[in-house]
Amino acid sequence: MSTVERRRRVSVIVAEDHPLFRSALVDMLKRRPDLELAAEAADGEQAVHQIHRLRPDVALVDLRMPRLGGMDVIRSVVGAGLPTRIVVLTAEGDQATRDALVRAGAAGCLSKSAEAGTIADAIVAAAAGRVQQVSAAPPEVPYGLTQREVDVLRLVAEGHSAPGIAKHLYLSPATVSTHLKNIYRKLEVPDRAAAVAKALRGGVLD
């Protein structure tokens, strides 16, 4: 049994006022076996109420919401000394705002345009006590690789097998092998070793 399976699932509250965006976030959480939805909130006031009542591990909170915004939620939770860690999603994503959020006690701050997997990973990282900031504009990846393909490539470079990568990223082995094929095609290489070498040379991996 892997460590992920043994670990308790991270409970999460999603606070976002836009109903379609909130439902996309909720569906993202539901697909992750390591995350569990505790509640949804449509504004900051509901979020604060639910955090106090349910004490989730993490609250994923929109910066701009009616009544109370993300910053107010952080202040309330930090002020009350609750253990819930807060990950903020921002549409604007200027550095000054992100710095202020982290100073106020946010465990993470991500752009709303971050990839679904990145947001989920930031929730897991926050629950584990790490602070993460992801810049608004996803960095341009060389060779037209997607962020997911870079994730796969990084695990390849760390020596994981395809089934190991599948487990790590919660993907089917077939999806991983498709990602690998696409990586080889984009990097114009024949195999894993060549892919890793080219990725390191091209600055895809550090």
């Binding site: 836009h18 965006f21 993202m28 549409a91 679904a116 997997g117 997607t146 498709t178």
Partner: protein, 82 residues
């Protein structure tokens, strides 16, 4: 005349801000939700040609989001210039 002009300028200004806010708070959120759902779908696909098509679709949505953002900033800029 100067007062009338100022009133019209203020009206245009607030109308531009209203449109910018709607784009920012609604249209861009809907498109971003679409991008997230495309990513969720991608993790379920196994065939590389399907994934390639989905990547293109996601890229198209990202471009639309970028253009909407650009439009929001232009609207806010011109509102400030009036």
């Amino acid at each position: 005349v100067a007062t009338e002009r100022a009133v019209i300028a203020a009206d245009i200004d607030s109308e531009r801000e209203r449109i910018a806010a709607r784009l920012h708070d609604d249209s861009i959120q809907v498109m971003t939700a679409t991008a997230i759902r495309l990513q969720l779908l991608r993790d379920e696909l196994d065939r590389s040609e399907q994934i390639a098509q989905l990547d293109q679709l996601e890229e198209t949505v990202r471009r639309a989001i970028e253009r909407l953002r650009q439009l929001v900033s232009e609207l806010r800029q011109s509102a400030a210039d009036l």
